[in-house]
């Protein structure tokens, strides 16, 4: 399991310097570190967070947005009618609730269809693993810079220390 401090350090080393989002238990450890470092700007909805990230990107920042995958549903319009057509990239750090059908009922549909949804909309994605942390983050930065599109890094429960380690 990756320590939250190490993960935030790796994000910053990769170049990310603007953090916003809406919490999830899987992301709780990361958000706690970001709050502790006064780097986290809380949003009330995930599409709002993505739009804040778009503004920050245009003002020179390299933004990351944290959200539960249910929030991806809230983001379809902003991704389709802002980021993808205006070419405004951000890192989407998405917790994978409902992975392999093991979660509360409200997470099962999105848990099963999230990667297809990202493929359909045209958002490159990869699932984070402890063994390939640096490689995964370098891939996000490279895709971000080259394609100028949002890029999603999916976090399963237990990859980074969360609320219940």
């Amino acid at each position: 399991m990756i320590d939250s401090d190490d993960f935030v350090r790796a994000l910053k080393d990769t170049g990310f310097d603007f953090f916003t989002g809406v919490p999830d238990s899987i992301l709780a450890g990361i958000i706690a570190v970001l709050i502790d470092q006064r780097l986290y700007l809380p949003a009330v909805r995930e599409d709002e967070a993505v739009a804040m990230a778009a503004g920050a990107y245009m003002a020179g920042k390299v933004p990351a947005v944290l959200m539960q995958n249910s929030g991806l549903g809230n983001c379809l319009n902003v991704l389709a009618s802002l980021n993808l057509i205006y070419r405004q990239p951000c890192l989407l750090l998405i917790s994978w609730r409902g992975f392999q059908g093991k979660d509360a009922p409200e997470h099962l549909v999105m848990g099963q269809t999230m990667t297809q949804l990202l493929d359909t909309v045209g958002i490159p994605h990869r699932t984070l693993s402890e063994q390939t942390l640096v490689e995964d983050l370098n891939w996000t930065a490279k895709t971000f810079m080259e394609k100028r599109l949002p890029v999603a890094l999916l976090l399963k429960k237990g990859t980074v220390k969360g609320l219940q380690p």
Partner: protein
């Protein structure tokens, strides 16, 4: 604040009153007629014209304002837009960027889709902004009020909220003649 009486300007008149007071400040303009009218009245590379993502103009402006604390960032918005994402008023009120000015042109209708009524006739958006934590909140009904209040807000620490009550009149304007990627590129260069 000046008394609320006299002629109510059209949105184009109100937008012009605001743009006349600006030079190189970043301006985020919501989708629909406001972007088209602003583009026709005074196109500047510092304008970010939205063509979609309704309701998110202040969120984009907030991102710019937080990343560029030394520039005053202006958001030109509409009542239908604000109502779609009232939560962002709370986010702005909580994060309190001093360099953020939110101007809402309120015609009480969805003007870009055929003037269906919004609920801003009933819900006082300026009071919502005040309760959300905007520092300066004003309401304008005349062109001179728009000029007076907006000039004042440019001098003050925000976040500021200016509600401009306007008529339903829209200009006969074309779509913004720029590709979205070009809007991004030139806005980024202009506010560097």
């Amino acid at each position: 604040m000046r008394p609320e009486e006299g002629t109510i300007p059209s949105r184009a008149v109100a937008i012009k009153a605001v743009l006349d007071l600006l030079t190189d400040q970043p301006v985020i303009i919501c989708n629909g007629f406001p972007s088209r009218e602003a583009c026709k009245l005074a196109d500047r590379p510092t304008h970010f014209y939205m063509i979609g993502s309704m309701g998110l103009a202040p969120a984009i402006g907030l991102g710019v304002a937080l990343a560029k604390p030394n520039k005053k960032v202006i958001v030109l918005d509409g009542d239908g837009n604000v109502l779609m994402n009232l939560g962002t008023l709370a986010t702005v009120g909580a994060l309190k960027p001093k360099n953020f000015i939110h101007v809402v042109f309120d015609n009480e209708v969805y003007g870009s889709t055929g003037n269906q009524p919004t609920i801003s006739r009933i819900v006082r958006l300026d009071q919502v902004a005040k309760a959300s934590g905007y520092v300066n909140v004003e309401r304008a009904r005349e062109r001179e009020d728009v000029t007076y209040e907006f000039k004042d807000m440019l001098q003050k620490d925000g976040p500021s909220f200016l509600l401009v009550k306007i008529t339903e009149q829209a200009e006969d304007v074309d779509r913004v003649p720029l590709e979205p990627t070009e809007i991004t590129r030139r806005f980024m260069k202009a506010i560097e």
